[in-house]
Point group: C2
Chain length 197, copies 2
């Protein structure tokens, strides 16, 4: 099973982190992102969206880090991370949407501007970061984990760009319950770091 | 089962549309959005994100239209719309992420500016609309439905803000395969329209 991967991408890190926590073997294929390898065949055929990560497992090809987490957890990771019950899956999907939208367009976008020179609106990214970090802080004041009462793929989807937020000049020190949640994730057996985390 | 609803919201329409297609009874509770009812108790307690829709089914409270689709389909709608197999769920989640991010920040954002006077960056929303509509067009050139070979909650999540795109001055007429997909959805038994669709 191959993961087309970029070490500095938080979206790729979501998958690497979960695979490490769930003891799933991935063959990492480093993509030369700066040279635009993801915008050329064969990668642009695997993912016409020209984004990373991409997972290839036999005949199955998946884009989108959230979808890859669902696949790996459901197929290989066991019910602890992605249960069978629709009501529990829905609790998790709330946070997969958060990762895809509020986190991606908040702390992730701020980091893209500061660290990689993307021409995105930094003020909007900062405002969105404040909103989502405030909502996260309030939620984590009453819950140890984002969904259910244990770590799930919800935590793996949201965590990377929160812990990397300072690389976009987003200060997470005013959010003590986010800090405690980060420590709980770092203490999980099998935890895998990335540069900046 | 109550859906806190706004008739003109495409996110609420995702849920109303799916419930109609899957013959699921919902009690619609109209929310006075202009008066800010969603920002006050009791609604802000049900959803601290202060957004619609909100689903309340007994003790269960869900925000986020994608999560609500997963819940309704998995709990009440049957496996046709949201299968049990993780590999098929992952195919669908790719499009739930698309609905949460590219569609929300593309054609939905453009419509929020034009129809409701939101102070969002219209040029960015139009650029994002072009990109996602081009990707959708290419996908639908080779597929009748977004995920799997039948309609699923993926189509219900992406359809509303695509068919409403002209309300944000996003022209969908240059995308013939999107047009054919829209016609296929409108022909589904039980299809429910909304103003603007």
């Amino acid at each position: 099973m191959k993961l087309y991967d970029l070490e500095l991408s938080g979206n790729c890190y979501k998958v690497r982190l979960f695979a490490a926590l769930a003891h799933i073997d991935l063959e990492l294929v480093a993509v030369d992102f700066l040279a635009g390898e993801h915008k050329q065949a064969p990668l642009s055929d695997l993912n016409p969206w020209m984004e990373l990560p991409i997972l290839v497992d036999g005949e199955r090809i998946l884009r989108d880090s959230q979808a890859i987490l669902v696949y790996l957890a459901g197929q290989y990771g066991g019910a602890a991370w992605w249960p069978q019950e629709a009501s529990l899956q829905a609790e998790i999907v709330q946070w997969l949407s958060t990762a895809a939208n509020e986190i991606q367009n908040g702390p992730c976008a701020a980091r893209l501007v500061d660290k990689f020179g993307y021409t995105l609106d930094k003020a909007t990214a900062l405002a969105r970061s404040s909103r989502i970090l405030g909502l996260l802080e309030n939620h984590l004041q009453r819950h140890d984990w984002l969904a259910l009462s244990r770590p799930t793929i919800a935590d793996c989807a949201v965590y990377p760009y929160v812990v990397l937020a300072p690389e976009g000049a987003v200060d997470i020190s005013p959010y003590p319950h986010i800090g405690l949640w980060i420590e709980r994730i770092k203490a999980l057996p099998g935890y895998l770091a990335m540069p900046g985390s």
